[in-house]
């Protein structure tokens, strides 16, 4: 574990991604406690204040400090997206591994069905799910989790198929090991690494999707300070206060970049071969 961490920090992507991750985690954990102002505190005198000493990222149409809202918004934006991705990834990974292990007709049927479900764009699937279940952060997270399952299943399946071709799996079969032993003890440790990497990169995608849903009014609901929601609310005041849009946009981008970097860094760190 520590060995992996050390290797992660050795790559520039891993190091940068980890730094960003720490910043984001701090924002989520501390949230409002770290904010200079109360996020809800309105100040009609200071409406549309430009970024400056008083308000580092400016103030919005109700005079609320943008930075404070951003910090609190981290808690609305990130944890749910992460949870949604990893739960979807876990389910997808099980389906993918099972399909690869079963092979033959079952594998084809499962794969074709996954491909068919993937013919519906992720956003559309999430939109339909949310419109069915009702608006709200939890439903949006659930919808994202479902939309992550098919692509993770595909990735896991192709990794599992490659692992299954390896001779150490054949050696296990030749030893007469049971199916569950082969899948859990021989295949899974080798399948886990690429799947974790893929899942990490998907978190970036989930954060963006979650923000999009909130932007469209179907995810987090006001007065939450979810970042996508902030962009949507600020659209009306584009002319007067563009910074109210720019700040949460940058936050979303930074989060997505963070997880993309982590994924790239993990790719090197989790590879068991020695560096040459």
């Amino acid at each position: 574990m520590t060995d992996t961490l050390r290797r992660l920090m050795r790559t520039p992507q891993g190091a940068l991604g980890s730094v960003l991750l720490v910043a984001l985690v701090l924002a989520c954990v501390l949230g409002g406690a770290a904010a200079p102002y109360q996020p809800e505190a309105m100040d009609f005198a200071g409406r549309f204040a430009a970024p400056g000493v008083k308000h580092w990222f400016g103030a919005d149409q109700l005079g609320r400090d943008v930075l404070s809202r951003l910090l609190v918004g981290a808690r609305s934006t990130i944890p749910l997206a992460v949870a949604a991705t990893f739960s979807g990834a876990a389910i997808g990974a099980c389906i993918g591994t099972l399909s690869a292990y079963l092979g033959g007709w079952w594998d084809e049927a499962i794969t074709r069905t996954i491909d068919a479900v993937m013919a519906v764009p992720h956003l559309l699937l999430a939109l339909i799910l949310v419109s069915t279940l009702g608006k709200g952060s939890l439903n949006a997270a659930f919808a994202i989790s479902i939309s992550v399952v098919p692509s993770m299943a595909r990735v896991t399946r192709s990794v599992a198929l490659a692992v299954r071709q390896q001779e150490y799996v054949k050696a296990a079969i030749a030893r007469g090991e049971s199916g569950s032993w082969i899948v859990l003890r021989e295949m899974l440790p080798n399948v886990a690494a690429p799947v974790i990497i893929e899942a990490t990169i998907r978190v970036a995608f989930a954060v963006m999707l979650f923000a999009t849903l909130s932007f469209l009014g179907l995810g987090a609901q006001p007065p939450a300070s979810e970042w996508g929601l902030m962009v949507s609310e600020a659209r009306r005041f584009m002319h007067q206060a563009p910074w109210v849009i720019v700040a949460p946009s940058l936050a979303i981008a930074a989060t997505a970049i963070c997880f993309n970097l982590l994924g790239d860094g993990l790719r090197d760190a989790l590879n068991p071969r020695d560096e040459r």
């Binding site: 150490y168 050696a171 007469g176 068991p272």
Partner: protein, 525 residues
């Protein structure tokens, strides 16, 4: 007259994350016009790096020592500009590569890839080049060259592709051709024919050649002089006629000693006619019959094979002959029809193979890199069969010692071991079960010849101690003649010949067997 190629005091380093690695040092080599010089070295000796250095195609992290010189005829290659090199490569010096399948562009026709050299260097028009190319392909004994020119590489066999590569290399009548292990990726018989072609062309054209290989026996048959490369330095250089008979340097002696020689038997005992495992009517089928397609051909026809207790049964054949399929059928890795009997007990399908069978019949695979789980330590890998078959986990150090590995290796991961060491762990894993029969599926093929010799010695020692039988699958006829009691010869999924050692000596064999043996003659000396 200046030599075709002259290398003086050349040294090369690679800069890596782990530090600077010296790959070649103080290389002095000269090839006279019309001469063939062989360069022999094991993996890591730097022989391929020397080829890249001559062709001036080194990777970005290569650092050449300033003093060394490489001259092609009168031209100083190191001083040549990139543009000058473009006119030299392909015209004055060319190269034949190791793997003909990857050396050809899959999206261009074969004809295109031959004519482009002619158009580029001899200034021919497309039409003239096409005609010349057809002639060149005819000259290397390719049938129906016009049709072949229009096809794509994947539609040609390995032997055909290598002939195309040779034709391309000879096309502009270069002064020097570098051959990088041209027969390693080919079957034994195909490779032998390529060597004949090489000899003929060399006589006709008088081109100078550098023939690189790991196979000392092969090189001493094709080259005039041989240079031995060990860890980046040339340790000995001698005419090929004498290097085998009178090796001077220590390393050369070790190499010569490691080369398998059929007349030197390593196994001298007799084996009783006590059948341990017998298989009859075995047909191995890999694909299920799918809709709208004809049933696929079985990998093996109805084969009958038996292994006697304690014997070494060799199985030889070219790729696609079905020898690995038998190994898979006997270990339940492939579907088969037919009957297997182990010490009298009947096994009708893979489901019948219970723990007793599994313990008695073990297998060691070809690729050491993929036969050990990269996420398990050596101890984990060896503990599993011990636990399964009632051994004692505390015997792991003893197991490692049996295969001549230090006990401390138990904590290591596979990527921390060399190829030979990984293969030893795989052998230890097989022996942990104390089996009656071990199937060795081409286990020495990817290893250097000296490592191969030590692995074979290990196998024989373990057999002497445990009385295990081996089903030894290989394509190396010289090796199998050294160790096997009986040899089965396979072709196209059938066993065409089954010989005992006396048959080999008396010459009583199938014509195909004779052809195989002729294709890999015993080394002279």
């Amino acid at each position: 007259m200046s030599p075709a190629l002259e290398i003086r005091d050349y040294a090369l380093d690679y800069v890596t994350q782990g530090g600077t690695q010296r790959v070649l040092q103080a290389i002095d080599l000269a090839i006279a016009s019309g001469e063939v010089v062989g360069l022999v070295g094991e993996s890591g000796s730097g022989k391929t790096s020397l080829a890249w250095a001559i062709m001036r195609y080194l990777p970005a992290n290569a650092r050449e020592a300033p003093a060394g010189r490489i001259r092609l005829g009168d031209t100083d290659l190191r001083a040549a500009s990139a543009k000058a090199l473009e006119t030299i490569r392909g015209r004055r010096m060319s190269m034949v590569f190791q793997d003909p399948s990857t050396a050809l562009n899959p999206t261009l026709t074969i004809g295109r890839q031959v004519t482009e050299v002619l158009v580029r260097h001899r200034g021919l028009s497309e039409r003239e080049a096409w005609r010349e190319a057809i002639q060149a392909l005819e000259h290397v004994d390719l049938r129906q060259p016009e049709a072949l020119m229009r096809r794509y590489p994947h539609q040609a066999s390995g032997g055909e592709k290598q002939r195309i590569g040779i034709a391309t290399a000879f096309a502009c009548r270069p002064e020097l051709i570098i051959f990088d292990e041209p027969t390693t990726a080919l079957d034994v018989i195909t490779g032998a024919r390529i060597l004949e072609l090489f000899r003929r062309l060399r006589e006709e054209t008088g081109v100078a050649a550098l023939y690189i290989s790991h196979d000392l026996a092969l090189v001493s048959r094709v080259a005039d002089r041989v240079a031995i490369l060990e860890k980046g330095a040339i340790v000995e250089e001698a005419p090929s006629a004498t290097i085998f008979r009178h090796p001077l340097h220590d390393y050369t002696r070790r190499l010569v000693a490691a080369v398998p020689r059929p007349e030197r038997r390593l196994v001298s005992d007799q084996v009783a006619d006590d059948a341990l495992l017998s298989a009859t009517n075995i047909a191995v089928r890999y694909q299920r019959k799918r809709l709208f397609r004809p049933a696929p051909r079985p990998a093996t026809a109805n084969i009958a094979i038996d292994v006697r207790r304690g014997e070494i049964l060799g199985i030889v054949g070219e790729s696609g002959s079905g020898k690995s399929s038998i190994a898979r059928a006997l270990t339940g890795l492939a579907d088969y029809t037919g009957r297997i009997a182990l010490a009298g007990r009947r096994i009708d399908s893979a489901d019948d193979m219970d723990r007793g069978y599994r313990r008695a019949v073990q297998i060691v695979f070809q690729h050491p890199d993929s036969s050990l789980n990269p996420r398990q330590t050596v101890a984990d890998i060896l503990a599993r069969p011990l636990r399964l078959y009632g051994g004692d986990v505390s015997t792991i150090p003893a197991l490692l010692e049996e295969v001549r590995l230090p006990a401390a290796y138990a904590k290591r991961y596979p990527h921390q071991l060399s190829g030979g060491e990984k293969q030893r762990v795989a052998i230890a894993r097989a022996f942990a079960a104390r089996p009656d029969l071990i199937i060795c599926d081409e286990i020495t093929a990817p290893l250097d010849v000296s490592v191969q010799a030590s692995v074979v010695e290990l196998l024989l020692r373990l057999r002497a101690a445990n009385g295990t039988a081996y089903l030894f699958i290989t394509h190396d006829l010289n090796l199998v003649q050294q160790v096997a009691h009986r040899i089965a010869v396979m072709r196209n999924g059938e066993i065409v010949d089954l010989l005992g050692i006396e048959d080999l000596r008396s010459g009583n064999m199938h014509p195909y067997t004779r052809e195989l043996i002729a294709a890999s003659p015993a080394p002279v000396g």
